[in-house]
């Protein structure tokens, strides 16, 4: 029987470094925005400012230990490191460090089992939703940092675009997230159309809603960093969204519309993570049914 002896090869290492590098930039920007700017203004001590670097460091440490345990030798796996830093990026700034450590341990502890049983649902997304629940109902914190909760703040459209706005630790800069999109696009297997579907549907509905209902500052409302981050970084991850283009479109529209509804009517600016998780669960179920249905009958398709 004929066989394929050659495979498409892309420079995975190079792509991983590009993604890891762009995530590090996001992480350092998070530390700068939430810590060092206030340190330079004399509002925070140096130690407090440095604490913000702990988030990515803990993520990286978790990745390192996971790699060591898995491979039983000292090695630095970029794939795990990317996940470790990503875990840090979407944490609320005031999220307790000890709880983040627990989440990192939980993430890497569950990773193997999760990949075997629930590979089509993103564990990262689940962790984010878990952190959202903990923030809202256990720690009673929002996305503001200590200074933002104490002082009145005012920022414009460029501030929101370049990252001065309120958001998770590493997700405030939409500009840097768009840079990440460019880095992701170098990966041949990245589903680059999915962010377009999600953002397209969300921004369109949000624009209509703002123009006809709330009459708020349109651009400021549209520059929701959670939506950009989740749609560009989390949603198109391999294994967590449909393969066929028509289902990918439905998936994207579902997430976009769902995020809009939660944002507009329930004031969940970060509702996209919940919708994304829900969409992945629905897709997993649909996939199981699809497999069962297809495997029942032999169908030969002709021209």
């Amino acid at each position: 029987m004929s066989k394929v002896f050659v495979y498409f090869e892309q420079n995975t290492k190079k792509i991983q470094w590009a993604i890891f590098g762009s995530f590090l930039v996001l992480a350092f920007y998070g530390a700068y925005k939430n810590g060092f700017t206030y340190y330079f203004q004399g509002l925070l001590s140096f130690v407090d400012a440095m604490k913000f670097l702990l988030f990515p460091f803990i993520g990286l440490l978790g990745a390192f230990f996971y790699g060591v345990i898995l491979s039983k030798k000292l090695q630095f796996s970029l794939e795990y490191a990317i996940e470790g830093v990503l875990l840090a990026l979407f944490m609320p700034v005031r999220f307790p460090i000890w709880c983040f450590i627990v989440l990192v341990i939980l993430y890497f502890g569950l990773k193997n089992l999760w990949q075997k049983k629930l590979s089509t649902i993103s564990l990262l997304c689940f962790m984010k939703v878990l952190s959202m629940v903990l923030s809202k109902f256990v720690f009673f914190i929002d996305y503001q940092n200590v200074i933002e909760t104490s002082y009145p703040y005012l920022y414009g459209i460029t501030d929101a675009f370049f990252g001065r706005g309120v958001g998770a630790y590493g997700t405030t800069s939409i500009f840097l997230i768009l840079v990440c999109y460019v880095a992701f696009c170098s990966d041949y297997y990245y589903k680059r159309e999915l962010p377009v579907y999600i953002l397209g549907s969300f921004l369109l509905l949000e624009t209509a809603y703002v123009l006809f209902v709330t009459h708020e500052n349109l651009l400021l409302t549209l520059l929701n960093s959670h939506i950009f981050f989740a749609s560009i970084v989390l949603a198109p991850m391999k294994n967590h969204s449909p393969a066929e283009s028509k289902y990918l479109l439905i998936f994207g529209l579902f997430v976009g519309i769902g995020s809009f509804l939660l944002n507009a009517f329930f004031d969940f600016s970060d509702g996209i993570y919940i919708v994304l998780l829900f969409a992945q669960i629905l897709w997993t179920l649909a996939l199981s049914f699809q497999k069962l249905y297809y495997q029942k009958t032999l169908v030969k398709q002709k021209d």
Partner: protein, 383 residues
């Protein structure tokens, strides 16, 4: 129009610049069915002598020598096959008369009738056609048979095309080459000026452009066109103009395990092992032998391969271990399929949803990051 892929090639695998000849095989093995009736008059045969017919196809002796016996050997698929063994006497006595009075035949209108002497060829395919398309492209990576044929025999190929055009009143002849095959393009450009009915078409290096369905995206290939490969035209030239029966083929022996890949002219029926021992040197001994393509070939045992007309390339590739892992639902298999089959669907259904329009080009399996053999699922061959 769907964007097609270019198969990236290892620049270090570069074929030697001349054709090597290996025409002195001690024994020739021709595939035969034990029920086939031998048509020879004595055990001593001449080159070009009709030996037997199998499924209406005539088998001619590529050498002069002595017919020894019918013996059972394994073929390239590893299955048992009977072969007629001929011992070469190296005399090259040629009995084939071919088509006589060719020069008068050329201008004669009853050419078609005359060339009926040329066996096993479907001349009807030239009737009422408007265009001849010469397919001078190679799909499989590292194959250089056509490039060498153009380099050494461009004049003959163009002459034969011109004859076909004249005789069958076909006004247009289009010569197609890949944009990166500069050698073929330059050689043909040197001769094409004398043939006003011929034009050159440079096409992109995409896979699988050799397939008629794909070729038709770049130039009108319809019921009024007849597509011929360079090898087919050259074989016609040899048979009709030079009055020589086809006794040898060009094969590319290449791969990352050999020091210098070569295009070798070999007598039909020669055991590959003999050709390799005489012409090739290896960088690595840990290789696998792949026949006829890296994307749609078969892995074979070097001792079992007898050179036949359908073998175009033999790869000697250093063994690599690839592991099949679970599908990551990237959807690239559907995206790259040139005829819009749904390999992903076939995979989900475990082969229950196969697609009959599949070209078996192997692109879906090539692109799969999980190394899933999707060609099995889409062809319904998955066990």
């Amino acid at each position: 129009m769907k964007k097609l892929l270019t198969i990236s090639k290892d620049a270090s695998i570069k074929v030697a610049s001349t054709i090597y000849d290996y025409l002195a095989a001690d024994h020739i093995y021709l595939p035969i069915d034990p029920t086939d009736k031998l048509l020879i008059h004595s055990k001593n045969v001449t080159k070009g002598e009709l030996l037997y017919r199998h499924k209406k196809k005539g088998y001619y002796s590529p050498v002069s020598g002595k017919v020894l016996k019918i013996e059972e050997k394994k073929n390239k698929e590893g299955k048992k096959q009977y072969y007629l063994n001929i011992k070469n006497d190296y005399q090259e006595n040629d009995s084939y008369a071919g088509i006589s009075e060719f020069t008068t035949v050329k201008i004669s209108t009853d050419f078609v009738k005359k060339v009926r002497e040329y066996p096993d060829y479907s001349w009807y395919k030239f009737r009422r056609k408007e265009k001849i398309i010469l397919n001078g492209m190679e799909d499989e990576p590292y194959v250089a048979n056509k490039t060498f044929l153009h380099k050494y025999y461009a004049r003959e190929i163009l002459q034969m095309l011109d004859i076909l055009g004249d005789v069958f009143k076909i006004p247009e002849i289009v010569l197609c080459f890949k944009e990166n095959d500069r050698e073929s393009i330059e050689t043909v450009e040197a001769f094409i000026g004398t043939y006003p009915n011929m034009s050159l078409k440079i096409l992109p290096d995409v896979y699988p452009i050799e397939e008629r369905e794909i070729l038709s995206r770049y130039l009108p290939v319809n019921d009024e066109s007849v597509v011929l490969s360079s090898e087919e035209v050259f074989d016609l030239y040899r048979e009709i103009v030079k009055e020589r029966r086809k006794d040898a083929v060009l094969i590319t022996l290449t791969g990352d395990a050999v020091t210098t890949p070569k295009v070798v002219r070999v007598k039909i029926g020669t055991p590959l092992q003999e050709v390799v021992s005489a012409t090739m040197n290896f960088k690595s001994q840990d290789y696998q032998v792949i026949v006829n393509g890296l994307l749609k070939g078969t892995v074979s045992n070097i001792q079992d391969i007898i050179i036949t007309e359908d073998i175009r390339v033999v790869y000697f590739m250093v063994k690599k271990v690839t592991h099949e892992s679970a599908c990551i639902h990237c959807g690239k298999c559907n995206e790259v399929c040139p005829v819009r089959c749904k390999p992903y669907l076939a995979y989900l259904s475990q082969g229950k949803r196969c697609d009959e329009q599949c070209l078996e080009c192997g692109l879906c399996s090539f692109i799969c990051p999980s190394h899933i053999p999707l060609y099995k699922y889409i062809g319904g061959k998955h066990e």
